[in-house]
Symmetry: C2
Subunit: 127 residues, 2 copies
DNA sequence: CTGTATCCTAGCTGATACTG
DNA sequence: CAGTATCAGCTAGGATACAG
């Protein structure tokens, strides 16, 4: 394995890392999945709770994202055959393994957001 | 702070977490930024090296993503007024603080990808 | 070598209405 | 309550040619 040219040379590990990251993004990326996963990381919630808590999401998108997450086996759908119907969503065992990653992402985001606010806008804090 | 109803109740921390995560995704999300950040996390690279190492990316997208990352202050653009021109990209101090998050994401992705391969396809391993 | 400029497509996303 | 169905718009992304 040659040390190669002047600057940074590609190696297999970097390629794999990039693939892994892209793979994670495929699952947790997009506009709504972070919000869903974050909420479910605190415990199970039912459909209507998710819908109410995630401001601006349409039913169409909520259902679509939940389905994808279910397909990827990170969340689980629990249907109770009652009237009125009740459906709950929760992280699977695999989903729970994402918590460190999710935590790292929200931590960095919150920290950086604060810094940006502090530098650029001084007082503007939006939650 | 009431304990609220039957299942999981929203609280301020969850909202913030979700925002932080979405904020991170705004910066590192998309199809190409993970690949770029992963490579630069190992050290500086010049434009042509990035282009060559990231298979399938067009010049248009590479430039666009690099510009966004620069605007977000996570990478830095170093221009050497030479002939032929040379431009290098590297993580900023802020960009370096992302490394734990990036590592968490690539680790989880690689691990989960292996599991999926192991369960669903036995032998198929694509890098 | 390091980009711009132009045009084009596909799929994500939103709004709304409807159903078991 | 927990979804489906349909239509339409936007924008991220891709192909190609050109420029400093």
């Amino acid at each position: 394995m040659r040390k190669d040219t002047s600057t940074n040379a590609l190696n297999e590990k970097q390629i794999r890392d990039s693939c892994g990251m892209a793979y994670s993004l495929n699952i947790i990326g997009g506009r709504w999945k972070p919000a869903i996963l974050c909420r479910l990381s605190y415990g199970l919630m039912r459909y209507s709770e998710l819908k109410k808590s995630i401001e601006g999401i349409s039913e169409r998108m909520l259902v679509a994202q939940l389905k994808e997450l279910e397909k990827d086996k990170v969340i689980e759908r629990l249907v109770y055959p009652e009237v009125p119907p009740r459906v709950e969503y929760k992280l699977t065992a695999l989903g729970l393994t994402m918590k460190p990653m999710l935590a790292a992402m929200s931590d960095w985001g919150n920290l950086h957001r604060q810094q940006v606010n502090a530098v650029d806008e001084q007082t503007k804090v939006v939650y």
